[in-house]
């Protein structure tokens, strides 16, 4: 199997699960740093693959990214960089992953978690490529809980991976909290709204978040349905996971 390692906690856990599931000899990890990757993204990945005993390759996407920007420049003249340029990076990585998948005859395991899939903090045809969404039913705080459980006796997932603040590293200094509430806030909202069908008012009452914040998250969840319906199958570990057991319309105006 092929897994993209970002140096973050999600891909680290998927690599650990894949290694236990199929043996280290059947797992290939690949790091694909960009100009915005922190030095830790590769160093921490190296430490992880040595702990797991899996093959690790790296391919820089710097030149490919520059080529895309150059090719698109005439179309984008006068338009400032935005999410478009951010999304090109995971899409380059997705193409490399699928090339490896073809050449090695190995499935790609996609590494998105339930919090990201809920609010659409993921890139279609980018980091969403793959044959199976291994941790797509674990919200981010549960991803950490499972990693800490894995580390209960010896350090399988390097501490540096668990300690760094979550970042997509798609622009300089980017943090998940630039776009999203902290996961300690986001996850209870996702669980309440997706798994228990609670109303924003009920979530506010239960958790003490502002109505405005809860409504923003609910809006993100509703407008991401088109992404989720194109996602890899998710391994179900909660009473309501994304996928076959949760069927919502895409072209809809939700007013509840």
């Amino acid at each position: 199997m092929v897994i993209a390692l970002s140096g973050g906690v999600d891909s680290a856990l998927v690599a650990a699960i894949a290694t236990e599931a199929l043996g280290a000899e059947n797992v290939t990890a690949i790091g694909m740093p960009s100009p915005y990757s922190s030095s830790g993204s590769i160093d921490d990945s190296r430490q992880l693959v040595s702990s797991l005993g899996i093959r690790f390759e790296t391919i820089s996407i710097n030149e490919l990214f520059a080529d895309f920007n150059h090719a698109l420049a005439p179309l984008f003249r006068g338009v400032p960089p935005d999410t478009t340029e951010e999304n090109i990076q995971p899409r380059i990585r997705g193409t490399i992953l699928m090339a490896l998948s073809n050449k090695l005859g190995a499935l790609v395991l996609t590494t998105g978690n339930k919090s990201e899939m809920a609010v659409g903090y993921c890139t279609l045809y980018g980091d969403m490529v793959g044959a199976l969404a291994v941790i797509g039913d674990l919200v981010k705080t549960r991803v950490y809980a499972v990693c800490n459980w894995l580390n209960r006796e010896k350090e399988v997932i390097p501490a540096a991976i668990l300690l760094k603040p979550p970042s997509a590293e798609l622009r300089p200094g980017q943090m998940d909290t630039d776009s999203l509430p902290p996961y300690e806030v986001l996850d209870p909202i996702v669980e309440s709204y997706v798994e228990r069908y609670e109303t924003p008012e009920c979530i506010v009452e239960k958790h003490g978040f502002t109505l405005e914040l809860v409504q923003q998250v609910v809006h993100l969840i509703e407008r991401s349905e088109y992404k989720r319906q194109q996602a890899a199958p998710v391994l179900k570990v909660t009473s309501k996971s994304f996928g076959m057991g949760r069927r919502f319309p895409i072209a809809v105006k939700v007013q509840v």
Binding site: M1, L132, I135
Partner: protein, 285 residues
């Protein structure tokens, strides 16, 4: 009476592989002195087969698989109870029954169909299956067995605040005075499910005052992961044995002569990890 709960990891559509497992587990159970070996819901064809059930060729293969199993186990001292889809062709237009067949020394003693067909969340059984019309208790060496399939045991009006079905097939079975309730399940894992299953079946054992045995599927099928955790509860609803979670197991119990065991502590974080490992392994295999 010793009964084996055979918790196997079948693959949907792999009749040859599934039958090999069923025969191998039956032989092991017979060697341990079991008079009956119970497999999970749709163990012969794997659960869930989804739209494969709309193919007549798939249902025909299910039927020949039952014949093959009968031939492969006729010389064993254990009877074999296993789930399989069988063609229906009734007035409701549904292609199949979700059935359990009881084979003993080459004879088909009982073909029981599932009555309650779940249709929520990941379940879509009313799309394919015709419900059972009657429930029949069967006698095996003087022990009267009530055989239900998964959801048939999930409609106790005292346990659930809101029932999903108007009928409870256990009521019809209890009027025939069974001594033992055997449930074939393919009940997928999710957070907290093992506790719910244990408490619900314990409530049924207490209500009916007979032991309950439940053989559950283990393994991953696409998005679903089945945890196994097959159960044996005595007539007071006390746990007498629980099979392994997230791996195959063969658990031999005497439901009438066993002492209660302490309830296992379900670590849901560990369970999530093991579920994802199993789901990944079986998806790729």
């Amino acid at each position: 009476m010793k009964i084996a709960l055979a918790q196997i990891d079948p693959t949907v559509g792999d009749f040859t592989g599934n039958l090999q497992k069923i025969v191998a587990f039956s032989r092991r159970a017979a060697d341990s002195g079991a008079r009956l070996t119970v497999f999970s819901e749709l163990a012969i064809c794997g659960y869930p087969p989804a739209d494969l059930l709309e193919k007549p060729s798939f249902l025909a293969r299910c039927q020949t698989a039952v014949d093959e199993l009968r031939a492969a186990t006729f010389d064993l001292p254990t009877a074999v109870l296993a789930g399989v889809a069988l063609p229906a062709g009734g007035a409701d237009g549904k292609p199949a029954f979700n059935a359990a067949v009881l084979l003993d020394r080459g004879n088909l003693l009982l073909e029981q169909h599932k009555c309650l067909l779940p249709f929520y969340d990941v379940f879509d059984e009313q799309r394919y299956f015709s419900p059972s019309g009657t429930q029949k208790v069967i006698d095996l060496d003087g022990t009267r067995l009530a055989i239900t399939i998964c959801e048939d045991a999930w409609n106790d009006k005292n346990f659930w605040p809101r029932r999903l079905y108007a009928v409870d097939p256990m009521e019809e079975l209890m009027r025939q005075s069974p001594a033992l309730h055997i449930n074939l399940s393919s009940s997928p894992f999710w957070h907290g499910k093992r506790t719910v299953r244990r408490e619900m079946l314990a409530a049924i054992a207490r209500r009916d005052k007979i032991p309950v045995l439940m053989a559950n599927q283990v393994g991953g099928n696409d998005s679903l992961v089945f945890d196994g955790s097959s159960l044996a509860l005595d007539a007071r609803g006390e746990l007498i044995a629980q099979a392994a979670s997230f791996e195959e197991d063969l658990m031999i119990v005497d439901p009438f002569n066993s002492s209660p065991v302490p309830l296992p502590e379900d670590d849901e974080t560990e369970a999530a990890y093991r579920a994802l490992v199993l789901g990944t392994r079986d998806y790729v295999r």
